[in-house]
Amino acid sequence: MAAPATPAPSRVCNVTGFTIERNGQRLALANGVVAIALLAFGGFQAILIALERQGLAISADWWYRLIASHGTTMLLFWLLFFEVAALYWGSTMLLNARMVAPRLAWANFVMMTAGVLAAQWAMLSGNATVMFTAYPPLEGHPIYYAGVLLFAVGVLIACIHFFANVVVAKRERTYEGSLPLVVYGLAAAAIIALYALGTGAVAYGMLFLNSIGLLETVDPATYRLFFWGIGHGAQQVNLAAMVAVWYALIALTVGGRPVNEGLSRVAFLLYIAFIHLGAVPHLLVDPGLGTSHRIMNTSYMLYLAVLASLIHAFSLPASIEVAQRERGFTKGMFQWLKKGPWREPGFSSLVLSIVVFGFFAGVTGVLMGTMQLNMLVHNTLFVPGHFHSTVVSGTTLAFMGISYYLVPILSQRRLVAPKMARWQPYVFAAGVFTFTVAMMFAGQLGVPRRVPELGYEAAPLGLDQFVTGPVPLIMLVVTLGGVVAIVGGIMYVYIMVMTLLKGERTETPDDGLRIAFGPAARMRAPAGEGAVETAAPTATVTADGGEQEHEHITGLKGRWRRWTRFEAPGTYLLVLIFLAWFVVFYVIAHVNLSQSWPVG
């Protein structure tokens, strides 16, 4: 191994066996800590936002400022800061490698933080109440655009740093062969981020130049196209990063890996190839685009990016199932699931986020992105309902799940309050699930997004359909679910902050967690307490052994055998149920559409 000029001290992790370099560790932690602080800040705003919907708290002016800040803080700052942490972690620890330019990374960290603070000032002082979408000709203070730009450029630099780390690791032979699947997924996220942040820099750049008088006008339709390059592109970064984190959680909690890892990689390639078409789902009821353009783009080219997600939808649970069956939980269809480590926060957040993401977020996303169906939901509360189920119960929950491992391992501190950690994913998921589904119902009834109150009866030409009927009750459920979600969020932030500040320093930070991965973990496995649970050893089914067994039986009988034998039968049943659910919603949505006024 070619030693770097001034090698940063590194250590071998007792839990995973990876070599952890000090710079990578510190940078990943620092970015992660700022991310969590931003999540806490956005969560605090969410309390006020959710309560105002019940007529409590604050003025409309402040509500708009808060929602502008909540949206920007959460969607851009929290998620991307965490992703930068994940990129540094993946490209150093998982490759036993080093940060190539740690000073640059620290400068970048400072720049991103400064950008965040600048943008927050502008939004909270009422100088940039334009929402994170910042659609022109609404105007905000130049500092707002400058802040977001600095942040976006910082993330771009971090992505490039990630690639530099990977290339140098390869050259220094700190790992052999291809990238591990998780790093591969993170690389996909970083590639998509290059595209997303590039278009974002153009969009916010135009507005910045406009705000300081250097650009006379910004065409609203052009802006929307560029903006949604980041607005939606960033969601695909979140998606790829989340899937990578899911695969990492599967390794950490049950020691699983995909039945066919190559297929999962191909799915990431499909994301990279097609997901950038995703700006157009947001423009489906805009003037200025033709039919074929809308259809091709909103379907990500024949839904090939959706195909990628469907591949993961199979591959992820199958990984869990096969690993659990190898561990001996082979009874029936679902013993593997029942005997999962449900008390392990990583496992519960993994499964909850996969299920909610798939059944609610994914399905509603595809329906909203179906050209004609989009008319029914565009800009209604259905949209926040959809994206809270993607980025909150999906991405945010997955990121919470992995931090239960990363934070102790990187900070070498014992997780405080493991009992609370056990409950946290359930509380958070239940709350988010409740308020997202309620938002979707409200959106179906026409409730608009981004309004502090539904007191339209007081407006000139007012209407009362939101004060009579079921809407008030549904909005109450939104608030109640929101409060539960916030409690779950507070639990998470508390555990993380206390672990970092007060957690007992330890060489074995997996105490209190049950980590199924790693040479150290394997060595310790049989030792009671911390060990991963296994059933009595029964005949195990292996991934490829089973198939070979049948390979030589030819003819009809062999064919029949092969077609009726499933490596992951439980998963098969689950994905078929999922597909049926998908089809039902697709049909219901079209029935709804057909009941609208004829339009065209």
């Binding site: 699983g256 809308r294 109150e453």
Partner: protein, 186 residues
């Protein structure tokens, strides 16, 4: 402290490099699911074209650039020609069935109030003269984006009688939550 295992004896994991090449032959499980999933993707894709052929509700695609100043003048002329009434200070117009009808989104109102006839098709000409707005027709819940500088042509055929409020569902400033309009169908 554990020894770093060498490549050969390494376990396979999502956190570790794969053995040799990463591509593996697809097993029957994957092949089956891949086929089913791809077919469903094709259904979703062709579904949009099928609905184009059989559905009555289509995404409007006709649009033009228009100078906001010109649009304002056309709206004024339209209101002058067809105004029949006034409610709460808003002009009420009754254009002839099947005609072109202007709808002006402006902070913080959709004007004029339109009186339309059931089962007649109208060409709504929608634009804004200030910022972006969201046209949300209640309670049938049809939603469109309104951009200044662009004229969006939305053909609608009201198929029920009654009062149909319009609300704005794109953030357009501090009065966003009181921005309304009205279509009356008889």
């Amino acid at each position: 402290m554990a020894e770093e295992p060498t490549q050969g004896e390494r376990e396979l994991s999502t956190l570790l490099p794969p053995k040799d090449r990463w591509w593996e032959r697809l097993g029957p499980d994957e092949r089956r699911w891949l086929t089913i999933a791809f077919v469903w993707c094709l259904v979703l894709f062709s579904g949009m074209y099928v609905w184009l052929a059989v559905g009555d509700q289509q995404t409007p695609v006709e649009s033009y650039r228009i100078d906001p100043f010109v649009f304002q003048q056309e709206v004024d002329a339209f209101v002058e020609e067809h105004q029949v009434d006034e409610i709460q200070g808003a002009a009420v117009v009754e254009p002839p069935p099947g005609s072109e009808v202007y709808l002006h989104a402006n902070q913080f109102a959709f004007r004029p109030v339109l009186k339309l006839q059931k089962d007649e098709t109208y060409r709504l000409l929608v634009s804004s003269t200030d910022v972006q707005h969201g046209l949300s027709l209640q309670p049938t819940n049809l939603n469109f984006q309104v951009l200044p500088g662009y004229l969006y042509v939305i053909e609608i055929t009201p198929d029920e009688v009654g009062e149909f409020p319009i609300i704005c569902n794109e953030f357009c400033g501090l009065g966003h939550h009181v921005m309304t309009g009205l279509i009356v169908v008889d």
